[in-house]
């Protein structure tokens, strides 16, 4: 048995050394890369930056937030190497700065309720009314009677931004929305509260909470990737002109297999590099 295990270990080591490590691209590089822009990108960028800086301490990568607008401005004016946006670039922005854009992940947001809640489908209009405080009882939605307990995310959260942009719109949120500060805390809150409604990144849906279909579109990773589910947006990295050196290597790393793992771990769906 022991021999067999050793043999297995040996084989797996051999197999491992055969595959090129995507980090090897950073071996001979040094210098600084500044990244700024969308907040939803931050977990992916930070993790990738940490991996790279641990592999080669001569490289320094800084990651800042600021939002999509800041991302475009910083990269356009040469203050950052990569400017992140949670929306496609506008024609005017591409023209003005000569930007090149790289969509790398899909960020989908799912509305979720307690698994015992019979309400598993809502219309967009109903969602707006729920979150603006116009519908306050589950029985008005065909559920068991009881107050709707609203949960939301903090200002500056990428998940909240997608929820607002793609589902809720420009209206005013009800003041009784309880605020939690992570996808995990949101799941805990909904899983315990039978009258809860909240929203999480699609990657965080599991058995402890039930996703709610919007206008008949069921939230799932596949539906988000195929475009069937509407509450999604792409996450973009943007560079001024064709990326070179460290910037190009960083972008390639995001599109590599470990990059995809980081993207999935942050709750998004990785996209292949488009030509």
């Amino acid at each position: 048995m022991k021999k067999f295990l050793f043999a297995l270990l040996f084989v797996s080591l051999l197999a491992g050394s055969g595959i090129a490590n995507p980090l090897d691209a950073f071996k001979d590089l040094e210098g600084t890369l500044d990244i700024a822009g969308g907040t939803a990108h931050i977990p992916v960028m930070t993790q990738a930056a940490q991996d790279i800086m641990t592999f080669n301490p001569k490289i320094r990568i800084t990651v800042a937030g600021g939002g999509s607008g800041v991302g475009v401005k910083q990269v356009g004016e040469g203050l950052a190497g990569i400017g992140n946006t949670g929306r496609p670039l506008k024609e005017s922005e591409i023209e003005k700065y000569g930007l090149k854009t790289f969509p790398f992940a899909i960020d989908g947001v799912a509305l979720a309720v307690h698994p015992d809640n019979p309400v598993k489908a809502l219309t967009k209009d109903q969602v707006v009314k729920i979150y603006s405080g116009k519908i306050t009882d589950w029985k008005d939605l065909g559920g068991n009677s009881g107050t709707i307990n609203l949960y939301g995310r903090e200002d500056g959260s990428g998940t909240r931004e997608t929820f607002t942009d793609k589902l809720f719109g420009k209206g005013e949120l009800s003041p009784s929305v309880n605020v939690v500060n992570s996808n995990g805390a949101m799941k805990t809150a909904i899983a315990q509260d039978k009258r809860a409604i909240g929203y999480v990144g699609i990657g965080h849906l599991d058995n402890s909470i039930a996703g709610v279909a919007i206008d008949g579109h069921v939230p799932s990773q596949e539906n988000a990737a195929s475009g069937e589910y509407p509450v999604v947006r792409n996450l973009f990295m943007n560079t001024k002109g064709e990326p070179t050196g460290l910037t190009a290597a960083f972008i390639d790393y995001i599109f590599s297999e470990p990059g995809a793992k980081i993207i999935e771990k942050s709750g998004y769906i990785p996209l292949p590099k488009s030509k």
Binding site: E154, D155, E172, S176, V180, R195
Partner: protein
């Protein structure tokens, strides 16, 4: 050497305090068009009022201090002769253990134990003023009890023989002689408890619900200044959110400074 270190520490602390106060004032002046002290928080409309958070901070701190202080007084009396020795020892052990438990553990346990209990028994979401206040007062008990206890213990041994000679029972001794004599420690325990209650960020963030509105009832969701700071980590410099955070920080610091100033004045008077 010792004097130098003392000066250095005071200088560092002074700089930090000055920095916070100055940036708070600056935020107030620069953000004058953002109605920072208003009662509307709506970043889309350019309104960044933190009046609700101020009200919630004060309510939560005072309410949890109130229960916490009385419970601490009770603990202190149990430790000093109100209960048999083994109960006192047991309580002392529990209190010492409690000081070693990180706040996040209280918060985490409460999310899974107390929050569902409150939700099922009283309604609402369970994330509310009442829940946060209960855990916050629990968290403050050991510190307050130890402050009270050290004063009560030394005063008790000083006056014990005289009191016994006058024919007082131990309980009379405690309630008529020792407790009135140790009022200064009682007040400083309350001040310290209030400072901690108003400054705690983790428990309100985890338990109070963080809805932005004035809290009126114990089951209302509320957002304190500290929770506001930890939730709105703005990454841009100079926006309304940024100003509201700086102002919140300066306000919290001012609260604590005023409290400690009053306590010193008060403490001195009682001593005379």
């Amino acid at each position: 050497m010792l004097r130098f270190s003392a000066l250095l520490i005071s200088a560092i602390l002074g700089t930090v305090i000055a920095f916070i106060i100055i940036s708070g004032i600056e935020a107030f002046i620069k953000g004058s068009g953002l109605s920072l002290f208003g009662d509307v928080w709506n970043p889309n409309a350019g309104r960044f009022g933190i009046l609700m958070m101020i009200q919630c901070s004060v309510l939560l701190a005072v309410s949890s201090l109130f229960t916490g202080w009385f419970l601490s007084l009770g603990c202190c009396c149990i430790l000093n002769g109100l209960a048999p020795k083994f109960i006192a020892n047991l309580l002392m052990g529990i209190l010492t253990l409690m000081t070693a438990i990180p706040t996040v553990v209280y918060g985490f346990a409460a999310v899974f134990l107390l929050v569902p209990l409150i939700r099922d028994a009283l309604g609402g979401t369970g994330f509310c003023w009442l829940t946060a206040s209960m855990i916050l007062s629990l968290q403050g008990i050991p510190t307050m009890t130890f402050i009270m206890n050290s004063a009560v213990r030394s005063l008790s041994s000083e006056t014990k023989i005289t009191a016994t000679a006058l024919g007082m029972t131990p309980i009379q001794h405690l309630s008529r002689v020792v407790l009135p004599l140790s009022s200064k420690a009682m007040i400083s325990a309350a001040i310290l408890g209030l400072g901690r209650a108003i400054g705690d960020a983790l428990l309100p963030t985890m338990l109070a619900g963080n809805a932005i509105r004035f809290a009126k009832f114990p089951l209302d969701s509320m957002r304190t200044l500290t929770a506001h700071i930890s939730l709105v980590l703005s990454s841009d410099i100079g926006g309304g959110e940024h100003f509201s955070l700086l102002l919140s920080g300066a306000l919290l610091l001012t609260f604590c400074a005023v409290i400690s100033f009053i306590s010193r004045r008060f403490g001195r008077k009682i001593n005379l």
